[in-house]
Assembly symmetry: C2
Homo-oligomer: 321 residues x 2
């Protein structure tokens, strides 16, 4: 099969072996999204080598559960050991021996086929298009914020960043009724955020940061830049909460004294449950296709990565089958 | 009066003006403790200039509340504006316009006299010696951890650091019944921590850090070193809590991906309420004089700072009256 492989260098391989794993389903990938984590992986993040890609919709080609063959599915990306306490409680997201699709120890979605445990797969209802189903994984990650941090209708929340993850965070936050401010660097992206439910948008500027200092109950760092954390720390009220959402390669500078003096709480937040994300997409109340900048075939995967890393680009989809 | 003053350089001034402030009490300082924050202040932390010092016991010399004159007191160090919502709720610790004794906009305790609002002063019971009363402020700061983070008898907690703040944190943690591990760099200090209630002590070593990786529910960074945060992040379980307790001048490197991937929570923690600390000291159940390395007169204040900054030194007390 064809696969986009990374091994210090990203390249298209035409004769990759099918990624069959014992007792798992083989899924033919229909469409996959390029995430910032993928862009970080090809810079060395997480030390991953193999096929990246973890946002996908596909069709079950082979499965121990024969009734699922032919069904259209999305998939939770963490596959646990199945034996530890966390896995037995049904949440392999922090299993120490987990593999993670296209991120850790398991080939991912930028290929014609991928393998996942049958329990990771969730059927996509007929009314949901391939191009919106592919957003279930990143939207679930955004929903995880409101699972981890108490945000209600009286909360004043700022999102630092206006990229594709920030947009999905706005979509998730809008479900809580909180006040949403987005600070970004691109007028068009900020306008898009307004369409998704942001009440106030602003271009980032040093004087704005000074004016809004200490104003927000919750500040969400979704810019993916090292400076974003410093901005979030500054915007947050004493005893407020900063949510760290983006993973990037390398170290970030932290003024730990600000954290101590203002008694701030920093919460790291990663993958979420698929069900609420899929339910919102199925409801049709939000049109995530607005986030798609480009659709490209797997053949043009390397070019797709280049395009995805440009500042103006939002989601790039690889159309595979 | 005599005062130790910092203005880019620490020096003893013999003719400093009495620090009288309208509607406040003037307190004659009996004894004051040198804290790591003071050592950071003379390196430039918080941009403070004036008389440092915020751990003290003293005697009221003048006061609008004449009944308090002559009483022995300790004092909460944050003085709020008295008008904002936080101050009206009785907690000026995060008032945006607060001054902080010897740290922010207000001369401190390394002088013959200091000034504080009468509402900041708490009388010290007769049974409590000057040398233990001076620990109320830092012990209150340690108690603040268990006010901010849920720690119970089933919690497995590690303290990174074995200095004077770490020791007081062990004292506070011991009140919760949690399992306490202390990782430090000095055998004698670790043995002292065991005496205060640590169940397990260990000299810091890279292989130990690897062995204990991801083991603790709560990791408290009290080493005051930039490396301490990285160690605490490593020792903490997925979805665990790291408490940042030390303030230092400058930036710390943070591997924010570890925070995101393990969904860790980092909690900054500063000043605490005096009442529980004073109650524990009054109970006589803990002998904090074990933490005193040196007692020196205010005249030798510069030498006292030098001594306090040596790795083996614990608390240095300035005996002033």
């Amino acid at each position: 099969m064809k696969a986009l492989r990374f091994d210090g260098k990203l390249q298209l391989v035409r004769d990759a072996a099918l990624p069959r794993r014992k007792d798992e389903a083989l899924v033919q990938v229909i469409c996959a999204g390029i995430c910032n984590t993928d862009l970080e992986i090809v810079k060395g993040y997480a030390g991953f080598s193999g096929t990246p890609g973890h946002e996908f919709v596909g069709r079950v080609a082979e499965s121990p559960d024969t009734s699922s063959i032919g069904r259209r599915v999305v998939g939770e990306i963490n596959a646990g050991c199945g034996k530890c306490a966390l896995c037995r409680e049904g949440d392999p997201r922090h299993c120490a021996d987990r593999t993670v699709l296209g991120i850790k120890g398991r080939d991912g979605a930028f290929a014609e086929f991928l393998s996942l445990p049958t329990s990771n797969l969730i059927e996509v209802p007929d009314g949901v298009s391939d191009e919106t189903a592919v957003f279930v994984e990143p939207l679930a990650a955004a929903f995880n914020i409101i699972e981890q941090v108490r945000i209600g209708s009286s909360s004043d929340v700022v999102v630092v960043g206006d990229g594709k993850l920030a947009q999905l965070i706005v979509v998730a936050l809008a479900q809580t009724g909180c006040a949403i401010t987005v600070i970004g660097k691109h007028t068009e992206k900020l306008e898009l955020a307004r369409g998704f439910g942001a009440h106030r948008i602003a271009l980032h500027a040093t004087d704005l940061e000074a004016e809004w200092q200490g104003r927000f109950d919750v500040a969400i760092e979704a810019s993916g830049s090292a400076r974003g954390l410093a901005t979030a720390l500054r915007l947050c009220k004493p005893r407020g909460t900063i949510v760290l959402k983006s993973t990037h390669h390398g170290l970030t500078s932290l003024d730990s004294s600000v954290v101590v003096v203002n008694e701030l709480t920093i919460v790291g937040c990663r993958c979420g449950r698929f069900a609420p994300a899929l339910a919102l997409i199925e409801s049709g109340r939000v049109d995530l296709t607005k986030l798609i900048s480009l659709r490209m075939p797997l053949e043009d995967g390397i070019l797709a990565f280049e395009q995805a890393s440009l500042p103006k680009t939002m989601k790039v989809l690889l159309q595979i089958a």
